[in-house]
């Protein structure tokens, strides 16, 4: 029987820094967009790599790790091995991310230091999660997804550190072949598989969906896992055909996952289009856009398709997936800590009462327009559209930071 006892729920002061820092990194990543030159952008540009690390490590990973402190017991149905370790994760991840992002733009000498600190931070997270998984008696598909994702993350960060040493000139490695393996292990192997697994728990929970099959999730997970393995092997041994199969498999996996989400959406009974629902609908539409552009890239090898598709995947799909869930997770955690002891003694707010309506709507509006404009700018290599999109995104990110602080400080 699933039973998430109160002692499994970590104290909010442990998780709050992850969400505050995550939102600030989200804002910082929007500011970095002004350094891009849309007419001459390539994926190994130092500004692009710096932006990707600020966004993925500072925002995506930081927020996912904070959320996992709460969600791991929910998904695995056991308590954390040592939840206190999360107190060490965010300062290390913060320091390492800033050093790495700075290293790409200012001085490559910073990269090994940043990379090592990030490595330690992620290893603590992976180690804690794997030791928690060890307590699980019976595995479900979602629990397996957590195990697979963390295994890929483990190898992804090893590749990342080797690359950081290569960038700094302290090790002779073929950075470009490692880059593919690193990107697939972290983005496909960890972020995508984590989202796949958690979403089949969270989407039905918030949408009250029942009676859907998980067959598509099984297919999507297997395919993404093989895709990641194929791309890693192909990158190490320079096997173009295997690389092609891996890339196609990863796109097919995401398409099947999208179908899984559609079945959950169709069986939901909560039809209200609140900020959570709107954010997720935008996220999944962005995923479809990203898959379309990535497919075009595979067929035509035109790099703006790759960059624009990656943009939609990052800021459209990952970004809105995370911001949408923040509007559910933070109110729950604050309510759990601040108001649940008052239930039955005095009137307590509902979770929906804790949402900042105007700033959350502003965040959605400005960020969604910004994502669309930047995708168009990257595709058409248009700097004016890029600056316009970045401006919308900065306003959206400011509204997001405001929303996060409002929810964290919510009092009756």
């Amino acid at each position: 029987m699933n039973a998430i006892s109160q002692e499994f729920a970590p104290p909010f002061k442990l998780i709050a820094p992850f969400f505050i820092l995550g939102s600030l990194f989200y804002l910082l990543s929007t500011l970095l967009l002004f350094a891009f030159d849309a007419s001459d952008l390539f994926y190994t540009d130092s500004h692009v790599i710096s932006f990707v690390h600020i966004f993925l490590l500072g925002f995506v990973m930081m927020t996912i790790f904070g959320a996992m402190a709460q969600l791991v017991p929910v998904v695995l149905e056991v308590g954390h091995f040592a939840v206190e370790l999360f107190y060490a994760i965010w300062p290390l991840l913060l320091t390492g991310t800033l050093l790495m992002a700075g290293g790409f733009i200012l001085s490559p000498k910073l990269l090994p230091y940043g990379g090592l600190i990030v490595l330690i931070s992620l290893m603590i997270f992976v180690g804690e999660t794997l030791l928690t998984i060890k307590r699980v008696k019976e595995f479900t598909v979602v629990m397996s997804s957590v195990l697979i994702a963390n295994t890929f993350l483990f190898f992804g960060i090893i590749f990342g550190l080797v690359m950081a040493l290569g960038y700094a000139g302290q090790m002779s490695v073929d950075i470009y072949s490692l880059l593919r393996a690193h990107a697939y292990l972290v983005i496909g192997g960890y972020v995508s598989i984590t989202i796949m697994g958690l979403s089949v728990i969270l989407l039905p929970m918030f949408g009250l969906s029942h009676g859907f099959s998980l067959t598509s999730l099984y297919c999507a997970l297997y395919m993404m896992s093989f895709a990641v393995i194929f791309v890693v092997i192909a990158s190490l041994f320079d096997l173009d055909f295997l690389l092609y199969i891996g890339c196609v498999l990863s796109i097919l996996s995401q398409m099947i996952y999208f179908y899984q989400v559609y079945t959950i959406y169709k069986t939901r009974v909560r039809k209200e289009n609140d900020i959570y629902a709107k954010s997720l609908i935008f996220a999944y539409l962005s995923l479809v856009g990203a898959l379309f552009l990535e497919s075009l890239f595979i067929l035509m090898s035109y790099e703006p398709f790759l960059i624009s598709g990656a943009w939609l995947l990052f800021f459209g799909f990952f970004g809105f997936m995370i911001t949408g869930h923040i509007y559910k997770i933070i109110p729950f955690l604050v309510w759990f800590e601040r108001f649940s002891p008052l239930v039955g003694k005095e009137k307590v707010p509902m979770l929906a009462d804790m949402l900042p309506k105007r700033s959350s709507e502003a965040q959605f509006l400005f960020s969604s327009i910004g994502v669309f404009l930047v995708a168009f700018a990257l595709l058409s290599q248009n700097n004016i559209a890029l600056s316009a999109g970045a401006s919308f995104l900065v306003v959206g990110a400011l509204a997001f930071v405001r929303s996060v602080l409002y929810m964290i400080n919510f009092k009756k």
């Binding site: 699933n2 929970m205 009250l208 909560r270 039809k271 759990f336 707010p349």
Partner: protein
């Protein structure tokens, strides 16, 4: 001879509200049964809308406390079951309407 009827027990439990959806557990159809004996022992059989509910034990505790507030209640057992699986047809009409279920 039961100390309280099922309706009286359901009325007491209806003070427990799910903070996520904003409806009480009885109108959500989450309370399957409640029986009491003449010595003040009560057994509540309930479910949750999802097995992954992070408030699982807290909601159980609220149900227990809501029944314990009734006069002469000595012992309350709350059992959470997963069969039959909850679905929206078990909820009251006004809940379905509010959620937009046709």
């Amino acid at each position: 001879m039961a100390m309280y009827s099922k309706e009286e027990l359901f009325l007491a439990i209806s003070t427990v509200i799910d903070p996520e959806v904003g409806f009480n557990l009885v109108e959500m159809g989450l309370i399957y049964d409640a029986v009491s004996d003449d010595e003040g022992s009560v057994k509540v059989t309930m479910t949750l809308s999802t097995k992954a509910c992070p408030m699982h034990q807290m909601i159980q505790q609220w149900v227990k406390e809501a029944v314990e507030k009734m006069a002469n209640i000595k012992e309350v057992e709350v059992e959470v079951v997963w069969e039959p699986v909850w679905n929206i047809t078990m909820a009251d009409e006004h809940v379905k309407n509010a959620l937009g279920v046709s």
